[in-house]
Amino acid sequence: MSERKMPLSRRRFLAATALGAASAASGSLAMPALLRAQGAGVKLGLLHPVTGALSYSGQQGRIGATMAVDEINAAGGIKALGGAKIEPLLGDAQSTPDGGTAEVEKMNAAGVPCIVGGYASSICLAVSQAAARYDLPYVVDVGVADSIVSRGLKNTFRFGPGFGVISKTALDNLTIINDQAGKPAKTVIIVHEDSLFGSGLAKLLNAQLPPKGFTILETIPHPTPMRDFNNVVLKIKAQNPDIVIPANYYNEYVLFARTMREQHVRPKGIYSVLGGAASSYKFVRQFPEAAKYIMDCNHWFNPKSAKAQELKKKVEANGQFFTYELYMNYSVVLLVADAIERAASVDRAKIIAALESSSFSGHVMPYGPTKFVNGQNQGAAPLNTQVLDNDIKAILPPEFAEAKPVFPMPA
């Protein structure tokens, strides 16, 4: 979902490093500007891949982050700093790690006390390292690779769950759903895209599904982009598995689900882990028939939170889709604002300390009060959702569920 191959050409590398060097040189000169800025406002770096392959996700993330900034400012800004307004500094990572690094250099030179964003794991890895050189606090919005927080960088915090937690939750919940239905499912076919994200997940599933009593009939890798899923679906049809687990990006996910529908292949369940489109309102709106009853274990807002529902209404009133990039960035900006409030300062070390001790719970995610251990938010966890009645409903865990899982899916 958030891993892409990002080629680093010689020219891009030169451009990025030259830019980096230039802005680093001006960085020391720009320091007095930071001091002057304190009274006027608090700068906040919002870094997203708003152009390139990941631009849709990046733009959604930027919308969420700026909505939070507007809300904070409308409510009187950072009170501990005399009502200082947050001044967002928008950066574009151009869907590449070096694009992200270049933006960090610029933001550092502009004297931001904190950076939020990244989206793709590869960008987050690069950005966290670049920010660490300046002890610049960096809060990851989405990036799920666990190496982002396991390298011991003091400046890096991740609000959302990592890959390990997500896949464990997904498998546990699949077992729960199957057990509740009287164990109708025994066989599985995995369809995954063949880069880091899909292959990594397939490997994990191949190791962890058999001990839970599932037989994996076949694991089918495919490239991205993929023009035609007819043969994949044909193979699935021939082996008639109980559950199909797709792990791919949005386009391929949609194409795959449509072909399944077209070929009248109806397994007992379609269950995704970080599915590219499985819990996307856009997919449900455009292809309600293909999306029906699809289950997903993914980032999801807390459906029981009034604040989340209010935000959802506001976003949809603007004609936008309420996607995880949006509400995760929204939450992260609120979290950072809370940390700056408690630090009562734009000093980077003080903000890092405030983040370390954060117990912020005013977000819209089902994570409970925030608690960072080695940079990872301990409460962060995905939810299980299912497409029911042309809508996406949370089905697990029970404390957040809006509906009971429909499994096996009706013929």
């Binding site: 152009t51 390139g52 392959a53 990941l54 631009s55 849709y56 733009q59 063949d194 089918i220 890798p221 495919h222 490239p223 982009p225 993929m226 023009r227 035609d228 007819n230 043969n231 994949v232 044909l234 193979k235 049809k237 021939a238 949005y250 386009n251 949609v254 194409l255 449509r258 529908r261 077209e262 070929q263 009248h264 455009q286 292809f287 028939e289 293909a290």
Partner: protein, 290 residues
């Protein structure tokens, strides 16, 4: 391990997708056969046509199949203008320059699309998108069957144009012997532009046939272009029947190798054929001997 019925289905799937490949390759082979340039802008033009078909449906409510009759002529004009006023003049008579100009055009078109529409992937949902034909042992996607038939119709029409009409004869004359054709009074620049226009119109038709089942984004066309190059080599540069047969053959090879070797390796079969053809029969199946 698989029953013969499944293999037959895989072959049919290959033929259905192969017909669309053939349409894209038709345009390419025509342009190559006459202008002797590899049109690098072909993929970008396909993306542009996909967007045109998408917008025709979204903004004007025109069904993609009907839109063919609007978009194909407009893309003919676009192709004609591109060759006549940009690629031709910019090349200064040197084929290598033409190659670079088409490459430049590809970058330009793709980024213009990116600027106008963003990288967001779009799809349209039509009443018949999911319609299938039950043939007993499998379901065939209706839009795919339509595009299969349409590909044959387009190839036949193109073949007729090339063999019967004066324009077709002029195109073939220019392809065979440019100087001779010029001496015989044929306006080579005009024929070049007509050919480029026809090639672009083929891509536009392919786009209209693809839109009901495929997605649209600024780089969607690229997925087809490498395959189209292979088909052109396989079928013989400049050969209309070659592109059609080659497209179907590549479709089947891709389908079967994808089936047996896994989808990630499906393309291996295609490029193996590409290498073998280059080694054994470099002029392709239907290519005229050099």
């Amino acid at each position: 391990m698989f029953s013969p019925l499944i293999l037959i289905t895989a072959v049919i799937n290959g033929l259905l997708i192969g017909a669309v490949y053939a349409l894209v390759a038709l345009g390419l082979t025509l342009i190559y056969g006459v202008l002797h340039i590899i049109n690098f802008a072909h993929g970008a033009l396909l993306s542009a046509a996909l967007f045109a078909a998408f917008m025709a449906y979204q903004k004007l409510g025109i069904d993609p199949y009907l839109a063919t009759f609007l978009i194909a002529p407009s893309f003919f004009v676009l192709g004609y203008a591109l060759q006549r006023f940009i690629i031709g003049p910019a090349s200064h008579g040197d084929d290598r320059n033409m190659l670079l100009v088409t490459l430049g055009l590809a970058v330009l078109i793709e980024n213009a699309l990116l600027y106008a529409f963003r990288a967001d992937t779009r799809t349209i949902d039509l009443a018949y998108s999911f319609k299938t034909i039950d043939v007993g042992f499998t379901f065939l996607s209706l839009p795919r069957v339509i595009s299969f038939i349409a590909a044959f119709v387009v190839a036949s029409v193109l073949w007729l144009v090339m063999t019967v009409t004066d324009t077709g004869k002029a195109i073939r004359a220019v392809a065979k012997e440019k100087l001779g054709a010029e001496l015989a009074g044929i306006d080579v620049a005009h024929v070049y532009a007509i050919t480029f226009g026809l090639g672009t119109a083929c891509v536009a038709i392919a786009a209209c046939l693809l839109v009901p089942t495929y997605y649209v984004n600024p780089s969607a066309g690229n997925a087809f272009i490498l395959i189209a190059f292979t088909i052109v080599v396989l079928g013989g540069m400049g050969s209309v029947p070659g592109a059609l047969i080659g497209g179907l053959a590549i479709g089947v090879v891709e389908s079967l190798s994808g089936f047996f070797l896994g989808e990630s390796l499906g393309q291996v079969g295609i490029f193996l054929i590409f290498i073998v053809v280059l080694l054994v029969r470099p002029r392709g199946l239907f290519g005229a001997s050099a």
